[in-house]
């Protein structure tokens, strides 16, 4: 289980992640950010499970999350989630 915190322009993203052969098998995201609608956070975690923990795949998954849910996260961009996840994954 890897853990990391990343300070985005607005809010600290805290990620706990479990990997199995470089693929995310479990992930929990917390922090003091804003997301509308709030329950979209669970969808974000769901789309990340099964994703390979590299920048390219994570970015694609997070972008797909934004376009499918239309979630809004003031001053937090897809790259910020990815950075937090990569740090937690240890690479």
């Amino acid at each position: 289980m890897g853990y990391a915190e990343f300070k985005a322009p607005k809010g600290v993203i805290k990620v706990e992640v479990e990997l199995s052969n470089d693929i995310i098998s479990d992930i929990s995201i917390s922090g003091d950010f804003f997301m509308y609608p709030e329950e979209a956070i669970e969808q974000l975690e769901r789309v990340l499970v099964g994703t390979k923990a590299n920048r390219e795949n994570l970015l694609a998954a997070v972008r797909a999350f934004y376009s499918s849910t239309r979630a809004r996260t003031p001053m937090i961009e897809p790259e910020h989630w990815v950075e937090a996840i990569l740090r937690a994954a240890g690479g």
Binding site: G11, S28, S30, G31, D32, Y36, E38, P74
Partner: protein, 253 residues
């Protein structure tokens, strides 16, 4: 003729009741059964509220909270952990139809926080809105807000720092191991301020409430009319309260 919004009297409640009232107002406003409303309250006992995405274990020292008799509650809004000191903090709540707010999230914070900025000015303080959700005086945070949008309505609530016990705040919040050192407290004083510190006196809760209410009315271009919670609102709040008091909700994340 300006639109009329409701202004509720100052209440003092436990955390779970206050959070339940907020949600009841939001639900009933969205259902067309509650007026757009501005309200203010104090917390008894003092409480730490955490944002809906925060992990309680990571943010709050529950042992310290227990020792001081401080309640801990999870909000339905995002953002960070706040220490609501019974003697030194006033919280506002604001509920209105989504149609009465800008769709853009930061712009809606700017509009509502503009009411608070006007309130601070009425108290004799120069304050400014810092996006997304803070208000600063002299470059230091003096108020923070959090907003949610559900079912067609907007709820925003936030903290107004009158003279909270900052040392206790840092004991309760897990900031870092050195958090209660004098050095850390000193650096916190560089980032956070209070009305008492900026004004050189402690205004009464009623004085702050009046200033902020006038600020809201001005910023929104509405007339605030004193009213009471309805029976329907109180009944719904009573139904919602157990969720906020539950361990399941507190430890959701």
């Amino acid at each position: 003729m300006a639109k009329e919004w409701r202004l509720l009297p100052l209440r003092v409640d436990d955390a779970f009741t206050s959070m339940a009232i907020d949600e009841a107002l939001l639900r009933l406003n969205a259902g067309g059964k509650s007026l757009n409303t501005v309200r203010f309250w104090r917390w008894l006992p003092s409480t730490v509220s955490i944002g809906c995405f925060q992990s309680v274990e990571r943010e709050v020292d529950l042992e310290v909270a227990k020792r001081y008799g401080v309640d801990v509650v999870r909000r339905i809004t995002g953002g960070g952990a706040v220490f609501h000191d019974h003697d030194g903090e006033l919280t506002y709540g604001f509920v209105c139809r989504q149609d009465d707010m800008p769709d853009d999230i930061i712009e809606s914070y700017r509009l509502i926080c503009g009411g608070l900025v006007g309130g601070f000015e009425r108290l004799g303080l120069r304050a400014e809105f810092k996006p997304v959700n803070d208000i600063q005086a002299n470059g230091k945070k003096i108020s923070g807000s959090a907003q949610t949008r559900r079912w067609g309505s907007v709820l925003q609530h936030g903290t107004i720092l009158i003279n909270p016990d900052v040392r206790r705040m840092f004991e309760l919040l897990k900031v870092s191991p050195e958090k209660i050192s004098d050095k850390f407290i000193a650096s916190a004083y560089e980032r956070v301020t209070t009305i008492e510190r900026e004004l050189g006196r402690k205004p009464s809760f009623e004085e702050v409430r009046k200033a902020m209410s006038e600020g809201f009315a001005d910023a929104l271009g509405v007339r605030l009319v004193e009213g009471e919670l309805t029976k329907e609102e109180l009944e719904l709040a009573a139904k919602l309260k157990p969720k906020y008091a539950s361990d399941e909700w507190l430890r959701k994340r």
